[in-house]
């Protein structure tokens, strides 16, 4: 069971949330949104990779090819 990817995603999520609120309090609203976007893109990369692995595995198990 790959538990490390979950904690990576959780870390990035919390980091972007904190970064967003810090940047917003400093008045740099647009940079805050960009930071959240960057964190989101990074997490998307990981999740898509995991999705591809699952779909490949399900295809072989359920003969869905």
């Amino acid at each position: 069971m790959q538990t490390d990817i979950i904690f990576k995603i959780a870390g990035i999520g919390i980091l972007t949330a904190v970064l967003h609120s810090v940047l917003k309090s400093m008045g740099k609203e647009d940079q805050a949104n960009l930071a959240t976007l960057a964190g989101l893109a990074l997490v998307l990369f990981m999740v898509v990779e995991l999705l591809a692995e699952l779909f490949a595995y399900v295809k072989t198990v359920f003969l869905l090819y």
Partner: protein, 128 residues
């Protein structure tokens, strides 16, 4: 025991999801998606074992393997669409979930057609 790990980890993910949800962070939904993918990966391995035993039983019983293969395909489709549809509902758009389920039903129906024809033919032969 995988199930104990899954239960413990899901509580942690729930707490983190709650934290991220508070600050309207889109990563929360991706976290839930990642965790459900991991659970599905673990479950798929066990389903593979179940299917192996089903296959041996059906070989012994002499059942035509086409039927078992279609059943497995239908199960696979239902299995994946359930994952995505529930996630769409969780993300807030139930309309999207319904569309996905409609597509899955149509796919399952097209898969089940040959079996339907086979049944009808065997019934007709009985009646003649």
């Amino acid at each position: 025991m995988e199930i104990i790990q899954i239960l413990g980890l899901s509580l942690i993910v729930l707490v983190i999801y709650f934290i991220l949800q508070e600050q309207k962070n889109p990563v929360a939904l991706l976290l839930v998606l990642a965790f459900s993918l991991i659970i599905f990966l673990v479950v798929v391995r066990q389903v593979a074992l179940i299917f192996a035993t089903l296959q041996t039983i059906s070989m012994a019983a002499g059942v035509n393997s086409i039927y078992l293969k279609t059943v497995m395909k239908i199960l696979g489709i239902a299995y994946l669409t359930e994952l995505v549809a529930q996630l769409c509902r969780d993300g807030g758009s139930s309309a999207l979930a319904l569309k996905i389920e409609l597509a899955a039903k149509i796919a399952i129906l097209t898969l089940a057609l040959p079996i339907l024809l086979a049944i009808i033919e065997s019934i007709l032969q009985l009646l003649r």
